[in-house]
Amino acid sequence: MSLENNTQVVFNNKQVDDKQVNNKQVSKSAVATDWFTVMVKHSPKFLLLLLVVPVFGGLIGVILPALGWAPVLNQYHIGLQAFSELWDTTGLGQMVALSVATGLISTFIAFVITLMILAAFFNSVWLARIQQILSPILVIPHAAAAIAVGFLIAPSGMISRLISPWLSGWEFAPHGIFPHDNYGLSIILGLTLKELPFLLLMALGALAQPELGKKLRQQHKVALNLGYCPMTAFFKVILPSLYPLLRLPLLAVLAYASSSVEMPLILGPNTPPTLAVAIMHWFNDVDLNLRLKASAGALLQLAVTGGILVLWLLAEKMVRVLFCEMLTNGKREYGGAFWQKITSVITTLVVLFITLSLVGLVLWSVAGFWRFPAILPDSLTLLHWQSAIMQMGTPLFNTISIGLITTLIAITLTLFCLEAEQIKGKKVSPFISLIIYMPLMVPSIAFLFGLVLIQQLIPQFIAVKTVYISYINVVIAHILFVLPYVFLSLSSSYRQLDKRFAIVAASLGAKPSKVFFKVKLPQLLTPILIAFALGLAISFGQYLPTLLAGGGRISTITTEAVTLANGASRRTSAVYALMQMLLPLIGFILAWVLPKFIYKSANR
């Protein structure tokens, strides 16, 4: 593959050279030896390296120990010992079932609700309103969301307080099963609430693409004119065109939901936990031999997640075959009014649920005594904020500095790669796009541990303080997860940029670097800032990568929040969860305000 790429590059250079000869006007801007052009052209390869090495290195670091080869543990006996140990684990079936069920069901519910909302409110002002209400949820890290949901559904949570004691007669918290119920319902609820806004915004993002969006809206109108009820029109006309754009986010959600650690850790059962959580415990166990079993478990997780993805794709095919007839059967109405009402009810419930969670979180963070079943705290205090902020110095610094460095690298690379696209005159190869999104599809628990095992060998060769190495490791691990989102968010704006500006600038004698920095980047200020805020938000929310790559030595607000979530006080956890939400929110507010400010001063 890389060979092919190389030849392409050479070939393209040649093309440029030819053009130079033919077209003297462009020659100045297209000199192949221009450092900027060279750097930009090589950036996709660098990006590839940055993504492929950690992921594949990590996978190898898991596969070898799983097969019994682990020099660090003095194990050289190749065999399936680790797998048979894994197989003998009590409750393994339950773990896998829990992972599969929570992953599939939560994704499915989130997807269905997303579709219902889109269908019911397509081309209506309500869609924009729902978007406004739900988009802030997107920046809430999973851990914070889990904490908030846990507060809501606990036996002494907001819901039960609202109905006690006047309705329920409960003077003390009732016996309940939430959170941590054995069926994983709490996990499903948490994941669904978190993924729903993500999927919805992804869909709206696709619909916001000028050409596609306009076309689909007009087609929807055509269907209405042809007598289709709006919801039917959505499912028969919009969905078939929209779904391919949602596939990637959906698969990412599935992969995440089936292998994540934060939600099951905070909301899930522990007799037994989900597979991913169990693997994490095995890896962290004092008994290093358990790492072999954990590695085998990581491969099982890989298979489980892969299986779920395949299952989803198969289901997708089946749905297509089964419903293909229905598209053109001419039936216009499937109880649209009824479903419209149901959707309104579900949407209201979702919004209420989220609002109530957030209100609960804010109240807990400032609550004095607050005995069940009081709806409001007896008194309010800033004590919890004060003492938490006193403690927060280092984690806060780490969170922000890692976020900034990671995002800066990710944005620079993304911009260079997109510029390389334009110089070469064609989109990055499908292979590279696949690689960019790969970290979202491969369960992070599967390769991060391998990464850690490999990294443990490094400090001996490099005379750098281990702290710095941990720090660099965390940055690299974060880049894996920040890059895809930054790329996703920037690429469409970059590709839509009117190329005539660059042509005009070049014809005026501007070098490629000047065109890039002085013409393109300023035009892209708003999308870049938004991508930056998104990158920060993603980096801020990372739990497993921070914990593993940093060897637990780098603490961030998120790792602290998860550590505190099941323990300490609701009040302290609430403060940390709110901090987790505030940080990305500040980023987005800045991204929103700065361009206005800059343009305003520029207009003077």
């Binding site: 209405l224 004119n225 042809l226 028969k236 078939p240 059967n329 001419g330």
Partner: protein, 222 residues
């Protein structure tokens, strides 16, 4: 009974500014042409007729289709077909799929036969299973017309339907569309920039002025 589309005392506003007022009746087979510069409210008029007036606009007046008041009827229950300048064929469906999507539900075999007949009539035999994106502009326009006609509309709206076609194609397509409107005795309303379209329509022509000129309507010709 002759079909008709009646627009009674319509006053269309953007924010609070009057865009246009119309009071017309179009009988089956007649084509009312609306001309005017962009921003004069032509598209808003169409949007109002189809029941999808965007935010920021409001209207007074009513619209009757075959003497039924459909002013407040939901867009999809109006039975008003529209042809846009873009064919807007669904790219996830084949040509036949696009058409059968539009047809009323019913016996599958009969529907397929009807589609084949229609395609043949329009010079598109053998195109049933083609993908719409691979069709030429003229072919796409014909499929779009077929799609509207087979949905059995009670009136038809034309939104600059031929402006994207080149001259020869434009005349052919126009002729086909107008023939079909007359054949099916459908009331039709066409919005266009193009004088030749207006003349070919052979009906009443209304020219809108810019809204700044307060929505005067000049009647050029009866």
């Amino acid at each position: 009974m002759q079909s008709s589309l009646q627009i009674n005392n319509l006053k269309l506003f953007r924010q609070n500014e009057l865009l246009l007022s119309v009071n017309e009746q179009i009988n089956g087979g007649e084509i009312l042409t609306i001309m005017g510069p962009s921003g004069s409210g032509k598209s808003s008029l169409l949007n109002w007729l189809t029941g999808s007036l965007p935010q920021g606009f409001h209207a007074k007046g009513e619209v009757l289709l075959n003497n039924n008041n459909i002013t407040n009827t939901a867009a999809h229950l109006r039975h008003v077909g529209v042809l846009y300048q873009d064919a807007l064929l669904f790219s996830h469906l084949s040509v036949a799929g696009n058409i059968s999507f539009a047809m009323p539900a019913g016996n599958k075999k009969q529907r397929l036969e009807k589609i084949d007949d229609a395609l043949e009539q329009f010079g598109l035999s053998g195109f049933a299973n083609r993908h719409p994106d691979n069709l030429s502009g003229g072919q796409q326009a014909r499929v779009a017309l077929l799609r509207v006609l087979l949905s059995e509309p009670k009136a038809i709206l034309l939104d600059e339907p031929f402006s994207k076609l080149d001259v020869q194609l434009r005349e052919d397509t126009r002729q086909l569309v107008f023939e079909q409107i007359r054949y099916h005795q459908l009331p039709a309303l066409m919005v266009t920039h193009d004088h030749s379209d207006a003349e070919a329509a052979g009906g009443k022509i209304i020219t809108l002025t810019r809204p700044a000129a307060k929505a005067e309507i000049k009647q050029i010709r009866e």
